[in-house]
């Protein structure tokens, strides 16, 4: 009996002690580098270990029989081995292959600034960045102007990128083209963009070499992606020195859909009473703005709709340059309705679809008159003066439908293809002369992102287009490559052909045109992490077939642009300070319009630099923002026709451009417990140092008088209060400072 019990005891004990074996080995990657921190598991047991800095591991086990041993590590594909555990110690070696990972994988940075939180790397500009950039006054274009590649142009709206004219930069919202992104304004005065930065979660400012998905932009694309569902239901109101507004945003209780409605009214009357403007405004600028949206989450995607209606009115008088007794009177009445609907979804099996449609209609009623001292319309008998008596009524409609289909290939490589159709209609009545332009533009495109490894990606694509108005085809190849260098650095290269049909103003005269063409070559090095961004980019651009207006309308223009740009952003070195510095060197010449030869265009400065500094002082709940922008003088010309062509009668360079802007945001309720109201006070001022700014010169008909083009007022002041109810941002702000 005792013996039996002893036997039983020995049996169990034996089982527990003598059966223990050691399993040890090494974990390496497929290049033979030791992997530290890999987890080795004997599946369905508790036994295992973690590899050390030499990739070595070792553990004991009591288990017996057939087991699966697994080695796994983040960013690597797990590997398993079947083992049979007897009484012998086991040596196991694993080799793990690096996994292609969308977050870790390289993205192409050549030519583009991506400003969103989708990628983990430091984002360049978020919507909050835009509204806290001092010179921008919450205008997207204003903030983008502090990035390299963009010129400091104050006499016209638009982004003038790398030697390109403003109309060579196109804006896209959720994939579709925006026909009138800026408010209608008067000559020599830049206007703001129509869209609030808060509408967008991502802004990609591409200064060249962009994807085959986008066309009809010779120089640059500003690609805006609208936000999905808002975080919470809220109501908002704003009062400022130039506008008042109110809005609601409603998020359904199930968080599957939302809608919103906003109204704003801008009137510059009180402001112009206090801050004198150079032109004599007989119709003070006033704008109504109404917008609405809805967003619906589908099972795996989202449908978004956005609609905006603006109406604007303004009128001003300025002295006539040819005759000091006369005035040029200009008035514009504008209405603009913009609509965009898009549907993004996964179709299963790695297929994704993105369908977007947009429709916009814009009407401008422009009145230009020569008036005498008593503001009465007058004629002089001199055609070059009387030509300024005209009325233009213009209606421009653009409808667009775009479909992009994406298929995930093996790993994280993608192929993407689709098509788009734009119908543009323009009816213009000049005095009593009516012209209509209709264009049907078809485009097809395909591109693929091929990941050779996490460190190397190639994007190869092409785009083909046909425009009915000029009845021509084009074919545009696009290629970009990116290669990871070091831990946070990468080299990128981009090449592409870009086509754009001639502007309507030329098409009124003849339709016998070809596309204008630019070829971009871009080489970029960037290094970034969540705190710093450094990039240096060199580019060469060749322009062909630019539009000439003399001696006949033709595509005989040409040109080039080359340069180097630097960007540095640092959010870490100075506590609570975020700053960026950008510098652009540009060498460009082009022969277009009535240029007698290749010349540096009036919208290109050789050196441009901006410094943006933002500091938030927690104690005062106040943010202080400064922007200093500098550009060397830009050329200006007076071309005179001698009957045998145009010659340069006068030329020169403007004084350098300098501007220091300041803004302040005060958030009094920040951190208040359970505050239901959130208030932001904004004070801002442009050109704090009151520096003289000259954007160019206008010449009299005979060329003997030249007048500097200045802003309507040297400085702009703003005071505003923005209030929202409902969102508990306070709690967020607290967590912010954990």
């Amino acid at each position: 009996m005792k013996q039996l019990l002893v036997l039983l005891f020995i049996l169990i004990f034996n089982n527990l002690i003598t059966a223990q074996v050691i399993i040890k080995g090494e974990v390496k990657d497929n290049k033979g580098k030791a992997l530290r921190g890999a987890s080795i598991t004997l599946k369905d047991s508790y036994d295992g270990a973690v590899s050390d800095s030499l990739g070595k591991f070792s553990f004991n086990t009591f288990e017996k029989g057939k087991f699966i041993a697994e080695a796994k590590m983040i960013d690597y594909t797990p590997n398993t081995q079947e083992i049979n555990i007897t009484n012998e110690n086991i040596t196991l070696n694993f080799s793990l292959k690096e996994e292609l990972n969308e977050l870790k994988a390289i993205t192409i940075t050549a030519g583009s600034f991506e400003a969103s939180d989708r990628k983990r790397a430091a984002t360049v500009l978020s919507s909050l960045d835009i509204v806290t950039t001092a010179n921008a006054n919450a205008d997207i274009t204003g903030a983008v102007k502090t990035l390299p590649g963009a010129q400091q142009i104050g006499e016209q709206e638009g982004l003038f990128v790398r030697g390109g004219a403003g109309y060579e930069t196109k804006q896209f919202i959720d994939g579709t083209y925006v026909n009138n992104p800026f408010f209608s304004g008067a000559q020599d005065i830049a206007t703001r963009g129509r869209f609030s930065p808060f509408l967008f979660k991502g802004t990609v400012f591409s200064t060249g070499g962009y994807s085959a998905l986008y066309g009809q932009a010779l120089s640059s694309a500003l690609i805006l992606e609208s936000i999905d569902l808002p975080e919470k239901t809220e109501a908002s109101a704003s009062v400022s020195s130039v506008f008042i507004g109110a809005g609601i945003q409603n998020l359904a209780a199930n968080k599957k859909s939302s809608y919103g409605l906003n109204y704003g009214y801008t009137n510059l009357l009180p402001y112009f009473e206090i801050v004198k403007q150079k032109p004599d405004y007989f119709t003070i600028p006033a704008f109504h703005n109404l917008d609405g949206n809805f967003r619906i989450k589908t099972k795996t995607g989202i449908i978004k709709f956005y609609s905006q209606y603006n109406s604007a009115d303004l009128g001003l008088r300025r002295p006539n340059i040819d005759d000091a007794n006369l005035k040029n009177t200009f008035g514009v009445t504008n209405s603009n309705w913009y609509n965009n609907i898009s549907w993004k979804d996964f179709l299963g099996n790695g297929w994704r679809i993105n369908i977007a449609g947009s429709y916009s209609t814009n009407t401008d009623h422009l009145l230009q008159e020569i008036q005498n001292k008593n503001n009465i319309k007058t004629t002089t008998g001199l055609s070059y003066i009387d030509n300024n008596n005209f009325v233009i009524d213009q209606t421009a409609n653009v409808s667009q439908l775009k479909t992009v289909v994406e298929k995930k290939l093996g790993g994280i490589s993608y192929v993407r293809f689709g098509g788009e159709y734009w119908h543009s209609y323009l009816k213009s009545k000049y005095n009593n002369l009516s012209t209509t332009l209709n264009d049907d533009l078809f485009a097809g495109f395909a591109e693929s992102d091929i990941y050779i490894s996490n460190s190397f990606v190639a994007k190869v694509g092409a785009r083909v287009e046909h425009s009915s108005i000029i009845n021509k085809w084009n074919f545009a190849p696009r290629i970009s490559l990116a290669y990871k260098v070091g831990k946070e650095g990468q080299m990128s290269f981009a090449y592409g052909d870009f086509y754009q049909k001639p502007e309507n103003i030329y098409l009124f005269n003849t339709k016998n045109f070809n596309y204008t063409k630019a070829t971009h070559y871009i080489l970029n090095y960037s290094k970034m992490n969540q705190f710093y961004t450094f990039r240096i980019e060199g580019f060469y651009k060749k322009y062909q077939d630019l539009v000439k207006t003399y001696p006949t309308y033709s595509n005989n223009g040409s040109g080039y642009a080359q340069g180097i740009e630097l960007f540095w952003r640092d959010k870490k070195t100075f506590k609570n300070v975020d700053y960026w510095l950008s510098y652009s060197y540009l060498d460009t010449k082009r022969d277009f319009n009535n240029f007698p030869t290749q010349l540096q265009p009036t919208f290109a400065a050789n050196h441009t630099a901006s410094l943006v500094v933002k500091r938030f002082v927690m104690k005062w709940k106040t943010g202080f923002n400064f922007t200093y922008s500098y550009a060397t003088g830009r050329p200006y010309y007076n071309f005179q026709s001698n009957g045998n062509g145009f010659t340069i009668k006068d030329e020169g360079r403007t004084i350098p451009y300098n501007s220091l802007s300041f803004s302040l945001n005060y958030l009094p309720n920040l951190g208040k417990q359970n505050a239901k109201t959130f208030i932001v006070w904004v004070v801002s001022m442009t050109n704090v140092l009151n520096q003289n700014q000259i954007f160019g010169y206008n010449y009299s008909y005979d060329g003997n008088i030249k007048q500097a083009i200045n802003p309507p007022a040297q400085q702009f002041f703003f005071l505003g209060c923005f209030i929202s109810w409902g969102i508990d941002r306070t709690q967020n702000a607290i967590n912010n400072n954990l």
């Binding site: 009996m1 039996l4 039983l8 169990i12 921190g37 987890s39 598991t41 004997l42 599946k43 369905d44 047991s45 508790y46 036994d47 295992g48 270990a49 973690v50 050390d52 983040i74 960013d75 939180d117 983990r120 984002t123 978020s126 909050l128 975080e231 919470k232 969540q530 959010k571 975020d578 927690m618 104690k619 709940k621 920040l670 951190g671 208040k672 417990q673 508990d728 941002r729 306070t730 709690q731 967020n732 702000a733 607290i734 967590n735 912010n736 400072n737 954990l738």
Partner: protein, 212 residues
């Protein structure tokens, strides 16, 4: 007699196998929890997290091993242990999601989800507070909903407020009442098993000592 011995032999070995599974689990968890108490370096923390994960993978129906594995990873992310903070937090998320698969209405699990949100937010507070602050609050609400007696949502919130500057509505003034509430709840709270979460006393005592 011999028959009896044989029977008891069979019964004993049968019982040991049956009993040992639970016992083995309890013993492994207990051992790993003690290991966690002593863990200081990145290597030790990684080893503890990996062990909890192995227990979870082997057991398949226990939420606790994944809960602790995720908690260790969340703490590692906050302390900057084990490399890229985001990746370590993502590992924690993957682990806590496995726990949710097993128990969908567990207050404690949502406390870890809150911790992970804090960890994610601390990587880049300026740009992330909107998203992760809201997510953290939503998780705290869930944690309170599933168990109103759980003191840990209050522990987490009090700690977060204590670390917030006064001008942002943090500091002792707002943290202390929550810490007092948490302290009371901690006294009343009885964990279902000795292995179940029962942490929070030390950080609450620290807050109360600091806020006298």
């Amino acid at each position: 007699m011999k028959k009896l011995i044989l029977l008891s032999f069979i019964a004993v070995s049968f019982l040991t196998t049956l009993f040992s599974q639970t016992e083995k689990y309890m013993a492994a968890m207990d051992g790993t929890l003690q290991q966690l108490g002593a863990a200081k370096t990145t290597e030790e923390m990684t080893a503890v997290a990996a062990k909890f994960e192995r227990i979870g993978d082997a057991e398949k129906t226990q939420w606790l091993p994944y809960y602790y594995a995720a908690m260790v990873k969340a703490k590692m992310s906050m302390e900057g242990m084990g490399g890229d903070k985001d990746k370590v937090a993502d590992e924690a998320t993957a682990l806590i999601n496995k726990a949710i698969e097993i128990d969908k209405t567990n207050s404690e699990i949502y406390c870890i989800k809150t911790m992970i949100c804090y960890a994610k937010m601390m990587v880049d507070p300026m740009n992330r507070w909107m998203q992760y602050g809201a997510e953290a609050n939503a998780n705290l609400d869930e944690a309170r909903k599933f168990d109103a007696t759980n003191p840990r949502p209050y522990v987490l919130q009090a700690t977060s407020l204590k670390n917030t500057p006064e001008q942002f509505g943090g500091g002792c003034a707002t943290a202390k009442p929550l810490a007092e509430k948490a302290a009371k709840m901690l006294v009343e709270f009885k964990p279902a098993t000795p292995l179940n979460p029962n942490w929070g006393k030390e950080s609450i005592e620290a807050i109360l000592n600091n806020c006298k």
